[in-house]
Each structure stands twice: as C-alpha cells, then as structure tokens.
Point group: C2
C-alpha cells in the first residue's frame, strides 16, 4: 500500500522480503541456529524491525516454512495440471519432489533441507506439527485423486489409491532425505528413476527413462525448457 522513499516497498513486501531472507538463513544454518540478526542483515534491516513484523522468532520461522511449502506446492501442481495423461501428471509430481527446481529468483529453491528441519521441529512444536500435518494431508490427497483419475481413465490398475498414496509419499520422503544429505549412492536422478519404476509397477503402466545415460541431461532439460512438458510416460495397458 505504502511506498517507502528508498524504494523498499510496502509493508507486505517488507514481510515477504524478510520471510525469504529467513528461508535462506534456515537452509544455511538450520532452524535452531537461525538468528534474528542474520535474517535482519540479509533483509537489509535491523533485528528490531523483524520483531516488529513478527512478534517472535518462532512465528517468523514457522511462517517462512509455510510460505516455502505453499509456493513449492503451488508452482508444482500448476505444472502438473498442464499435463494430459494421468501417468504424465504422476511423473511430474514425482519429479517435483526428486529433481531440483530451476531456481527462479522469486521462487526460493525449496530445499530438501527445509523438510528435515520441518520434521524435526514438528516433533516438538505443536504449531509446526500442524503445518506439517496439513501439508502432508494435502500432498497425499493430491496423489490419491490423481490415482483415481488415472483409474477412471483406464490408465492405472485397480490398486487402493489411499494405500498407494501413503506408500508413495513415504518413499518420496525417504528419498528426500538421501538427496538432502547428498548420499553418494542415491542422487536425485536415481531416486527419481526408482520411484518411477515403483509407481509404474504398482499402477501397471509402462515407463521408460528418457535419457538412458543422462540423468544429468534430464535435470539440464528441466533447467532449459521451462514450458516443455515432460512426455516420457507412455500408457499402454
């Protein structure tokens, strides 16, 4: 609403700027070691101002994580919605939790590290637990209805959508850990491939990895072609 003299923008912009700063710091230093002073510095303001906007440190961090999850989900599902086959949509869904986003300047790269912090905090802080719970439910629901759609379209076999959703999301979470911790034996590409194989086997559609020798090429392709819809999933049941 208000335009500051120095061009720093409205109060809302100020808030978001701080939230983004907070996210960066959380990813770097971890949730508990994130200091208000760090966030303030990165946002180019004073600690006092940060507290002025967010009553407490916890509120700031919780809101930051919520923002991150929400934007991640929103951009991901919008990409998903543009795909016409259920199998393709599922592939995109899996890609969005395995393969790195192109890091757009205005979309803070949802780091898997953030998830680790989210889980750990959720264990002890009810406030955060609520955020995670909702986020997880939404995620599983998304998978569930995607499966139902695929079944109605005849693309997928008759498995229990709920069971499949629970299992797939667990698998993705597990791989997220490996990716976040940069496990040498499980990089993002392998996680993606194994997950796709699981999904294909379980739901009964055939899937062939596009670039046999090129997981990196796959990632590169994501980075290069923004609008290019991945169409490797072939349905033939």
């Amino acid at each position: 609403m208000r335009q500051r003299a120095d061009g720093s923008g409205t109060a809302d912009q100020r808030r978001e700027q701080m939230l983004r700063a907070a996210l960066e710091v959380i990813v770097e230093r971890g949730y508990p070691d994130t200091r208000i002073a760090d966030v303030a510095q990165r946002a180019g303001t004073s600690p006092a101002l940060v507290i002025y906007y967010f009553k407490t440190k916890d509120q700031l961090l919780t809101e930051a994580i919520r923002l991150s999850e929400d934007t991640w989900y929103a951009t991901g599902t919008s990409r998903v919605a543009a795909i016409d086959t259920a199998a393709g949509r599922l592939e995109e869904l899996i890609a969005m939790s395995c393969l790195p986003e192109e890091d757009d300047a205005d979309a803070p790269n949802t780091s898997w590290l953030l998830w680790l912090d989210l889980w750990t905090q959720a264990a002890r802080h009810p406030e955060v637990a609520g955020v995670r719970q909702k986020f997880d439910e939404r995620w599983r629901d998304t998978i569930t209805s995607l499966v139902v759609e695929g079944q109605e379209a005849g693309e997928f076999g008759p498995v229990s959508p709920a069971d499949f959703a629970v299992t797939l999301s667990a698998l993705l979470d597990g791989f997220a850990i490996q990716i976040a911790l940069e496990d040498p034996t499980v990089d993002a590409g392998r996680a993606f491939e194994l997950t796709m194989r699981f999904a294909a086997g379980e739901l009964g559609f055939t899937w062939v990895p596009r670039h046999r020798a090129g997981r990196q090429a796959d990632v590169g392709q994501r980075l290069a072609g923004v609008g290019a819809v991945r169409n490797g999933a072939r349905v033939d049941r």
Copy 2:
C-alpha cells in the same frame, strides 16, 4: 577398573550412564535444546563432570546417537540371524524399523525421533554426517545381502538387490517419519503392512498379515513373546 566408595562404578559405567541420560534428554527435548545441565541432572552428577568425560557438548551428543544406533542395529540383527527363511529375516528387518521395541530397561528405546535429529544434524555437521553415512551404508548392505541370500535359496525373484535395498530403505525412512510424528493416518502397524506388501510384491513371495484385525495385537505379541520368532512369511514361489 576402579570402584568408587559410593558404588557409582567404574569410569566406563559412568560414561555409559551419561550417554543414556543424554539419549533420554535428546528424545525429550530434541538435539539442539539438550542442555548439559539436563544430562548431568538425569545422570545424577554435575555439568562439569559431563564435560570432564566428553570434551564438548557435541561430542557427548554425537556419541550418544552412535551408541543408540549401534545397539539398535545389534539387537535387531541378532534377532534376524535366528530366523531360517530369507523372507522371515526380511520381515524381521522391516519390523525392527517399523514396530516399537519392547523397552528393555538397559536398551534405550530407539526412538524414531532420534533419527529425525540425526538427519537434521547430519545436514550441517560433518562429524554427524559421517556417522549417518556409515549407518546407512551398513543398513543397505544388510538388506542387499539378505536379498542375495534369498535369491540363491530360490525364495526371491531376480530383482536388482542394490536397487531394492535403496528403495526399501528409503521407504522405511519415510515411514519412520510418519511414525515418529504420530501421523494419524499412518501408524506403525499400517507402515509395517504396506512395507511388507511392497517387499513381497517386489521380490515375488507371498505374505499374509497374521492378525487381520489386530495390528495392535501384533505389537502386543512382540511385547509379550521375546523369543517367539515371527513366522508369518510363507514362501511359495
């Protein structure tokens, strides 16, 4: 080696006492919020003594987590070794990461919460990262060789043991999160069942849950019969 007058035992016992105390506190308060004073109090000593034994707080906590993982793995695998079919061994392996241990007084219940903390710390502290890395490798190797054994015995079909191990361990980690955070839709029993179904499907053996209506009963059985070997896995390929 030395016996104290008050019966507090040798230095080694002291150390272990502190490590166990540390584990309890970590589970309760979380890794970063664990204070030396807490550990000292629970071990019935002074903060200074804790530092006397473990140079720093980090060393104490890292060692505590290592101890926990090692005893968990050791007791689990010894149970596994007593089973004669590969499918049965696999089931026990899965049970040990899904279903709660009987909480023996001298074996601190490996809480899944500990894993969350382990992962989060591993992300930022190389020392901890090493511990996790080794632990994970060992775990996947265990699964891999179990699969190979099963294949040689003709119990399992011809899947890639390495791929299966990576996928299964990711799935288990993912479920561990849900269990740790007490997700209402994914309790330990359901996680166990879904994981077993995945394993059975993937490896090609048939598996029927023992107590259809009784996941809880299943856990209860574990709690009751210590030596009773679970023998629900039937191989028939």
